[in-house]
Symmetry: C2
Subunit: 210 residues, 2 copies
């Protein structure tokens, strides 16, 4: 297909497609004339992956480049590829001052994860994200105690077990990453919205018995 | 206390305090001279509330004005006050085109909430937020089915029941709103971070049996 058809079918402007080719995210088409190239289904699938990473995952170009390179590298096992994509997702913890409050929060996080026996790498970005929330709560005079954390831990395990069980591992790698990223980001919003409504429901039942 | 001491104790610059007074968020101090005013503990508590709404809740000034007005209006029951504060929190659904995809997603949300028997107002912002996620997933060829939603619903109920049970209703209204907003925002980050780590743990256990 021509670049104009690739644009129509991917929903991306021709200029954007050319930009992705320049950045090495998308292979060049097969030249058919000095100013023409032919594209195929592989280009379309790659563009759909890039679109999901950029538009749903909100990832910077550098992260997209890394993920695309890992997709193309069969030496990277699928679950490591999906993990790499998850690590690239925001939000990220803001850079932290090396003060004692931050160090204490990070140690608390590491202690909780060790206590749970969760297999999570020491440099998982979510450790810093959790430490940042711990430090902010402590700064507001609302320090976290393990008892308060229990329902969140239970909820996270419930959801993650469901999500990991549903991963389609025999799928095409490109499609698997695309689905995993979209699912991760969009179900995070689903969870957030459901929590807000469940709060309203629980509060209405508790305070407004009429 | 003088405005300089109020600034020290609240951690807010004098200029910011003056701005909040101009915007009607904070009452004026008691004039003690042409260019001096005296402030007391009520000013400090109000500033701490405003700070939590602005810095943790990331709310615009107009929303802070509405919440502060509701705090001062004893005719607004505490649980309605907390509900008002929760409705003011982002993220909000982007304005939606009145297309059939969006309408269908919103109807799906309303049907799910009705099916659950949750007491949630028809104009709760989280309904639109959930509809937006439904529409986005459908647009990616990953439509939500109720079976997939179950673990998220269960998780949301688990968390909300814990959170609403923990509300300190005999507390000062100002402090109750401050705590509720901070808790809502920061425990959302806690939940997000725990979900990411629970995913890594579940994935490692499933794929990497070594």
């Amino acid at each position: 297909m021509k670049i104009s058809e690739l644009s129509d079918r991917s929903g991306l402007p021709v200029q954007t497609i050319k930009y992705y080719i320049r950045e090495g995210l998308l292979p060049k088409g097969t030249a058919t004339a000095a100013t023409r190239a032919e594209y195929d289904g592989r280009h379309l699938h790659r563009l759909r992956l890039i679109k999901a990473l950029r538009e749903v995952g909100d990832l910077p170009i550098a992260s997209v480049q890394q993920i695309v390179a890992a997709v193309d590298d069969d030496a990277v096992a699928l679950h490591l590829l999906l993990g790499k994509a998850q690590y690239a997702l925001g939000p990220r913890a803001e850079p932290q001052p090396e003060d004692s409050g931050w160090r204490a929060a990070r140690q608390d996080v590491d202690a909780v994860i060790a206590e749970l026996g969760w297999r999570v790498l020491p440099d998982a970005p979510a450790r810093d994200l959790l430490a940042q929330a711990f430090a902010a709560l402590r700064g507001l005079g609302l320090p976290i105690v393990l008892r308060d954390l229990r329902p969140y831990i239970e909820a996270a395990e419930l959801i993650a077990d469901h999500e990991v069980a549903g991963l389609l591992v025999d799928e095409d790698r490109e499609r698997a990453v695309q689905t995993a990223i979209a699912t991760n980001v969009l179900y995070e919003r689903v969870l957030l919205a459901l929590r807000r409504m469940a709060q309203e429901n629980a509060s209405t039942r508790r305070f407004d018995l009429a």
